[in-house]
Symmetry: D2
Subunit: 146 residues, 4 copies
Amino acid sequence: MSIKEMIREHPQVGADFNESLAEAVKHAMYCAAICNSCADACSAEEMDMRRCIRLCMDCADVCTMAYRVATRRTDENRQLIRSALAVCIEACETCAEECARHDHAHCQRCAAMCRECAEDCRRALQALNDEVHADGERSTFAHDAT
Amino acid sequence: MSIKEMIREHPQVGADFNESLAEAVKHAMYCAAICNSCADACSAEEMDMRRCIRLCMDCADVCTMAYRVATRRTDENRQLIRSALAVCIEACETCAEECARHDHAHCQRCAAMCRECAEDCRRALQALNDEVHADGERSTFAHDAT
Amino acid sequence: MSIKEMIREHPQVGADFNESLAEAVKHAMYCAAICNSCADACSAEEMDMRRCIRLCMDCADVCTMAYRVATRRTDENRQLIRSALAVCIEACETCAEECARHDHAHCQRCAAMCRECAEDCRRALQALNDEVHADGERSTFAHDAT
Amino acid sequence: MSIKEMIREHPQVGADFNESLAEAVKHAMYCAAICNSCADACSAEEMDMRRCIRLCMDCADVCTMAYRVATRRTDENRQLIRSALAVCIEACETCAEECARHDHAHCQRCAAMCRECAEDCRRALQALNDEVHADGERSTFAHDAT
């Protein structure tokens, strides 16, 4: 049931496994599921949770996209993986900030998950950027500069 | 990072947690990710893997839908959850049968994951059907009869 | 921009285009987008729309799965396409019934879209079943009997 | 069946409809479906299409995320919409470049769709940025500078 072991078995991966990227994939997968659940739980609360519902739905969509794209190892689309990680960080941080405002256990859990996912994506993005600089490539992606 | 704990915290769940359904959600979430990875890994193999690619993409789509729908606990859509579980069993069994034919480690892992997911969905479907019969409701969903 | 023309250009389609299935794909694609929009619009309404939000999110997920699976023509997974169409009919009819109760223009539009999608999926399912019976195959899928 | 009319009926939209953003939503919805179809058609071709399969699957995932996020009008998540549009432009341009290399009718159609989607997203992004500058806000998103 390990998505990380699965990626390691891709025919083009071999020695180039990228631990931090696989960790980001795993947590984005989880974060997509947690945010989907939180959007639903928020809609059942008595108080007005519309902002939280919307941000959770957005974050679930972004995390799903990010983990699916970042899982793929056939040929190469590294630049898009970087952009996917960057937008995932943004969605997770926005969602975490809102969820953290609410006492509901599901919102607190969702906020913690989003923060963990953002941190893992940031680490994976940094590792990909370091690779680029080590290769002497000139990166044109704006988030590389951060 | 527990999707099962997350579901337990839904305001309408309370004592009615449904352990087997939560287990099915968790494994369908994983199976979606594993099948997405296997479709990609298969497309990088030298041999003709077109059938496997197609069935893995189908299974990833169905598992994603199934876990998202089966996660929701607001109000009620139990009949659709049953149908989602039933189609998930079918997609997983079809994919497992094909993946099991190939020696690639990723295909073997995907076949095992699909079988586990199918079994968990079957158990969850059975539990939902038992509930219906206990309630004296008459179920109209065809898979109930199996 | 035509998804139907796109399917016609698949290397394995040729004379076996299946007009009614392509129509179902197109409308399920639209219905997924309309339901995603309605879930969001409902969450912004002042009155309690929780049931409608939930059913729209479910329907968007099912329609997305159904159109993606039913689009594919590589090798064969016709049984799963039938099951996907059947669950799509169910999700659309459930969502249409709820949306039709509300006067909001977005709910009325969503209800109409869901009904149209259900009808197209039903026609596509019937055409696939007729094919099966013409071939003398014995279908094991419960919805075939309807 | 109009997703643009649907967005106009959102309770918080009113006079602030944003024509270019609605156009981007519509074309990203279509592009998601076309890329999903092209990935499948490519996997059925005799020649090695692995790069094209991968880029089409990535592009379908990104377009799906982008149209779903950009559809939502509840409360506010404009910064994430901008980022979603930016990553959508990138995915579409990468996919278009690869698809354009192949003579298959489905690849040529997919390339044209991706270019159109990228152009619409660029126009929508520009309109959102103009709004920001008109408001005197300082944008921190890197793509704003382009």
